[in-house]
C-alpha cells in the first residue's frame, strides 16, 4: 500500500505538519513535543511496532531506571495523541519538495490482519503453526550449529533420555549443565531445534534459573550460602573474604579456570551455618581464617593434576 501525504498550505505558505522518521524513544519524544505544540505529526516506523531499542532494554544508563517504566507512558501518549498519526511497518519511498512543503511517498507493508479490529491480544502468535524468524537475529547465522562429534553424541544421548517427557526442556538443560557445567551456545541452538521450540524460549529458561550459567565455570565451584541462618552467622563476610582471596567478584571465575565463586540460597544445612560447598564437598561452621586451608586443598590437587599432564608431554 502506498500512501501519499500532502496537506493544504497555511496562509504563510508553510505546512503545519511534520513527518518524523523512526519511532524509537527519540522519535517518540520529538513527535509528542511537536504534537503538543500544535503540529500534525506523521510518525513513520520501519518495524511493526513503535518503541525501538528502548523497549527491549531492562535498565537505562546511568541511573538504572526501568526502561519500560519510562517508555510505556510515552507509547500510550503517542498512540492516543490526536495530533499524531502512527504509520508502522512502513518505509519512506520518496521525498520531494523543500522545507515547509514536502511530499512524502511511504510504502506500507501488509500485515494481513485488520488493524482496526486487532486488539493485540497475542492469541494468533501462540497458535501460529509456523515459527517466526526473530527480527533481531542474523538470518544467515540462524540454524547453523557447529557441534563436534563428541558433543553431538552427548546431546543426542541426553535428548533420547527425555523423549517421553511432555516438557523436557528443563530436564535437558539440567543434564547439559551437569555434563558441561554450563550451557554452551551451540548446544542450546541444537536443543531448540531438536525440541522444536524457539531459541528465545530456551534462553529465557536458561537465564531464569540460578543453577544455569551461559559462561564456562571453573573446575571447582565454590558456593557460599546466602540463606538467612548463614547470613546472621556471617555468611556475607565469608563471601567477601573469598572474593578477596580468589580476586574475583561473586559470579566470576579465576583466570586459571580453577575456581568459580557463586552464591546459593540455603543449602538446607542451616544448623551448620555458615556453610560453603566446593563442588560436592560441604563445609559447615566456616570461619574466615579457615578459608585459605580449604582452598589450598583444591589448589594442591590441581598442582598434582597439572604436573602429571606436564610429565606426559
Amino acid at each position: 500500500m502506498t500512501q501519499e501525504i500532502s496537506i493544504k498550505k497555511n496562509s504563510n505558505g508553510k505546512i503545519g505538519a511534520v513527518m518524523v522518521l523512526g519511532a524509537g524513544v527519540a522519535g517518540i519524544q520529538a513527535s509528542l513535543d511537536l504534537a503538543d505544540m500544535g503540529y500534525k505529526v506523521y510518525l513513520v516506523e520501519n518495524k511493526p511496532s513503535i518503541g525501538g531499542a528502548m523497549a527491549q532494554l531492562d535498565k537505562t544508563f546511568p541511573t538504572n531506571d526501568c526502561a519500560m517504566c519510562l517508555l510505556s507512558p510515552k507509547l500510550v501518549d503517542t498512540a492516543r495523541h490526536p495530533n499524531i498519526e502512527i504509520i508502522t511497518n512502513a518505509d519512506l519511498h520518496k521525498l520531494d519538495g523543500e522545507a515547509g512543503n514536502f511530499t512524502a511517498i511511504i510504502d506500507k507493508r501488509p500485515r494481513y490482519i485488520d488493524e482496526e479490529k486487532c486488539t493485540g491480544c497475542g492469541t494468533c502468535t501462540n497458535n501460529c503453526p509456523v515459527r517466526n524468524i526473530a527480527h533481531f537475529e542474523d538470518v544467515d547465522e540462524l540454524g547453523k550449529v557447529h557441534l563436534s562429534q563428541e558433543d553431538q553424541q552427548v546431546i543426542e544421548q541426553i535428548l533420547a533420555g527425555h523423549e517421553s517427557e511432555r516438557a523436557a526442556v528443563i530436564s535437558v538443560l539440567q543434564d547439559i549443565n551437569a555434563r558441561y557445567r554450563y550451557l554452551p551456545e551451540d548446544i542450546l541452538r541444537h536443543t531448540a531445534k531438536a525440541l522444536d521450540i524457539p531459541l528465545s524460549r530456551v534462553y529465557s529458561i536458561a537465564t531464569f534459573y540460578n543453577s544455569f550459567s551461559l559462561v564456562p565455570r571453573g573446575k571447582y565451584v565454590v558456593r557460599v550460602c546466602m540463606g538467612t541462618a548463614c547470613h546472621v552467622k556471617g555468611g556475607y563476610q565469608i563471601l567477601q573474604a573469598l572474593e578477596r582471596m580468589l580476586k574475583i567478584a561473586s559470579g566470576g571465575t579465576t583466570e586459571d579456570n580453577l575456581f568459580s565463586l557463586e552464591e546459593v540460597r540455603c543449602l538446607g544445612c542451616c544448623g551448620l551455618a555458615p556453610v560453603i560447598t566446593v563442588n560436592e564437598d560441604l563445609y559447615g561452621s566456616v570461619k574466615q581464617a579457615k578459608l585459605p586451608k580449604i582452598l589450598e586443598r583444591y589448589q594442591d590437587e590441581s598442582v598434582v593434576a597439572e604436573s602429571t599432564v606436564g610429565g606426559t608431554e
Partner: protein, 540 residues
C-alpha cells in the same frame, strides 16, 4: 547414641570415646557422665533422653520415623505401620470419607498460606474434567528452613503414602514431586522409594488390588525461589518460564496442562497417613483452636541447639527457643525470632510468650511460612536483616510485575543507604509508601508479602532505624560503614593471631604486647574479632 533400655543419651561421640563407653557403661554398668548432654555450663548432665527438654517437649507425628528406620528400605517403613493408612483408605473408605477425615482433622497447608487441606482436596475433586493431577511441592525455597528435605531424606514413604491417599480421594491418576536441585540426597531417596513402592504394588496399576491406579514422577527444580509459588511451579513443570500467573483460575480448576490440580507441601502430605490411621479427632485434639496438629520448625541462627523440632501448635516461642533450643550461645541477649522466610517478619522479645499458630503470627505481622525460625541475638542488626531480605527478593523476583521488580529494588536501595549511614529521616515514610504500592499491585504473594520484613522490623525495631539514620550508629555492630574495630589493650595478650590473619596487614604491635589496628588500612572484614581467643577485639 542411645543405650536402651535405660534410654541414656550420649552425644558428640568420636571413635576414641567408644572403648571407654563400652567398658564403663555396657560392661560395668556405670553411665559415663562426661559424654552426656549438659544443658549449660556448670549444670549437672541429664542422662535420659526423655528428660532433655529438647526431646521431651517435642511431639513427633511427621518426624516419628526419623532416625529409626532406614529410609532406603520400604520394609522398615512398613514394619512401623507404614502403608497401613493406604490399605485402610483403599479397602474400607470411599473418597468422600477420606476427604471428610482430612477436613475434620483441621489440617492446614504447611507450605505457607495455611489453607485448609481437606477443603482444597474437595475443590479439586469436585472440579469437572478427567486426568487430574496432584503435586507435592518440595521446592523448599525459604532460606533457613529444611524440614521438607529432612522429611524426604528420613522418611520418603510417608510422603508417597500421603500422596497416594490424596490421589485416591481426589481422583487423580498422576502425581508429580517438584524438588529443589540443591537436595541431591533427597532426590535419590525419593527415586529409591518410588521404585520400591512400585515393586510392592503400592504405586502404579491397580494398587493393592483395589482397581485404583496412580503413579508419581519426580521433577527437579533449577534454583528459583519463585518456583515454590504454585502457578509458577506448574509453569516450570510445563517447561515454560516459571512466572506466576493470575488466579483465578486456581490450580484446583485449571492447573497442570489445564487439568484440575491439587498442590500441597511435603509436610502436609506427610501428615495424611497418621490422620487416616489415628482418625480426625485424634489429630484435632492436638494444637490450638484454629491450628491443629504439630508443626516442624527448623530452629537455627544464634541458638544453642540448632535443628528440626516438631511441636504441637500453640507452643510459645519462649519454650521453643529457650527450653528446646537451649537459649542463646555465649550468654548474649535474645533479640528476635524471624519466621516465615522472606515473606514473614520478626517477633521481638516482648512477644516471646506468644503461642504460635497461623492466626497469632499473622496478627503480629509475620506468617507461619514453611517453619523456619531464625533466632537473632543482640549482635544481629535488624536493619541489616531487612536489607538482606530485600536483596534476596530483589534477585528472586521473576520480574513480571513492575511494582515487585522495581519497587523491591527501590526499597533495597533505600535500606542499603540507611545501612551505609546515608539514610535521611524522610526515608522511613517513603519506605512505607513503597511497601503499600508493592503489596497492592503485585500479582503473586512474592511481591505481596515482600515488604513484610521491612514493615515488621520498622514496627518493632524503629529505634535501630533511628540509630542508623540520626546517630549514624549500628547498635548491633554489623553495618560496616557505621562501625570500627578496636583492640582492648587490657584484654589483648599479644598472641598476634589477629595480625596473622589480617588480609590488609593493618594490625601491628610488639609480640606479647597489646596490638593496635590501623584504621586507615582496616577494611572491617572482622577476621581479627573472629580469630581472637580473648575477646579483645571490640566493635565501636
Amino acid at each position: 547414641m542411645i543405650v536402651q533400655p535405660e534410654g541414656i543419651f550420649y552425644q558428640m561421640l568420636t571413635v576414641e570415646n567408644i572403648p571407654n563407653l563400652v567398658e564403663e557403661h555396657l560392661v560395668k554398668g556405670r553411665p559415663v557422665d562426661k559424654l552426656m548432654y549438659v544443658p549449660s555450663k556448670g549444670k549437672p548432665p541429664i542422662p535420659k533422653l526423655s528428660d532433655i527438654a529438647f526431646f521431651s517437649k517435642q511431639r513427633l507425628v511427621v518426624l516419628k520415623n526419623r532416625g529409626l528406620i532406614d529410609p532406603e528400605k520400604i520394609d522398615e517403613y512398613i514394619a512401623r505401620d507404614g502403608y497401613q493408612a493406604l490399605a485402610k483408605a483403599l479397602t474400607s473408605m470411599d473418597s468422600e470419607q477420606v476427604i471428610e477425615q482430612v477436613k475434620g482433622s483441621g489440617l492446614r497447608g504447611r507450605g505457607g498460606a495455611g489453607f485448609s487441606t481437606g477443603l482444597k482436596w474437595e475443590l479439586t475433586r469436585k472440579s469437572s474434567g478427567n486426568g487430574k493431577y496432584i503435586i507435592c511441592n518440595a521446592d523448599e525455597g525459604d532460606p533457613g528452613a529444611f524440614m521438607d528435605r529432612s522429611i524426604i531424606e528420613s522418611d520418603p514413604h510417608s510422603v508417597l503414602e500421603g500422596m497416594v491417599i490424596g490421589a485416591y480421594a481426589i481422583g487423580a491418576a498422576e502425581g508429580c514431586i517438584y524438588i529443589r536441585e540443591e537436595y541431591p540426597l533427597a532426590t535419590k531417596r525419593l527415586h529409591i522409594a518410588i521404585d520400591q513402592a512400585r515393586e510392592y504394588g503400592l504405586l502404579g496399576e491397580d494398587i493393592l488390588g483395589s482397581g485404583f491406579s496412580f503413579d508419581i514422577t519426580v521433577h527437579r527444580g533449577a534454583g528459583a525461589f519463585v518456583c515454590g509459588e504454585e502457578t509458577s511451579l506448574i509453569g516450570s513443570l510445563q517447561g515454560q518460564t516459571p512466572e506466576p500467573r493470575i488466579r483465578p483460575p486456581f490450580p484446583a480448576q485449571s492447573g497442570l496442562w489445564g487439568k484440575p490440580t491439587n498442590i500441597n507441601n511435603v509436610e502436609t502430605w506427610a501428615n495424611i497417613p497418621t490422620i487416616i490411621n489415628r482418625g480426625a479427632e485424634w489429630f484435632a485434639s492436638i494444637g490450638t483452636e484454629s491450628s491443629k496438629g504439630t508443626k516442624v520448625f527448623s530452629v537455627v541462627g544464634k541458638v544453642n541447639n540448632t535443628g528440626l523440632v516438631e511441636v504441637p501448635m500453640g507452643m510459645t516461642m519462649r519454650e521453643i527457643v529457650f527450653d528446646i533450643g537451649g537459649g542463646i550461645p555465649g550468654g548474649k541477649k535474645f533479640k528476635a525470632v524471624q519466621t516465615g522466610g522472606p515473606s514473614g517478619g520478626c517477633i521481638p522479645e516482648s512477644l516471646v510468650d506468644l503461642p504460635i499458630d497461623y492466626e497469632r503470627l499473622m496478627e503480629v505481622g509475620s506468617i507461619m511460612g514453611s517453619g523456619g525460625l531464625i533466632v537473632m541475638d543482640e549482635e544481629t542488626c535488624m536493619v541489616d536483616v531487612a536489607r538482606y531480605f530485600l536483596d534476596f527478593l530483589r534477585s528472586e523476583s521473576c520480574g513480571k510485575c513492575t511494582t515487585c521488580r522495581e519497587g523491591i529494588a527501590a526499597m533495597h536501595d533505600i535500606v542499603a543507604d540507611i545501612c551505609n549511614g546515608k539514610g535521611e529521616p524522610e526515608n522511613i515514610g517513603l519506605l512505607e509508601e513503597l511497601a503499600e504500592a508493592i503489596k497492592d499491585a503485585s500479582l503473586c504473594a512474592l511481591g505481596g508479602t515482600a515488604p513484610n520484613p521491612v514493615l515488621s522490623t520498622l514496627r518493632y525495631f524503629r529505634d535501630e532505624y533511628d540509630a542508623h539514620i540520626k546517630d549514624k550508629k549500628c547498635p548491633a555492630g554489623v553495618c560496616r560503614a557505621l562501625i570500627s574495630y578496636r583492640i582492648d589493650p587490657e584484654k589483648c595478650k599479644g598472641c598476634m593471631l589477629c595480625g596473622k590473619h589480617c588480609p590488609e596487614k593493618a594490625i601491628g604491635g610488639e609480640p606479647k604486647g597489646p596490638q593496635t589496628i590501623d584504621l586507615e588500612k582496616c577494611i572491617k572484614c572482622g577476621v581479627c574479632r573472629e580469630s581472637c581467643k580473648f575477646e579483645a577485639v571490640l566493635i565501636e
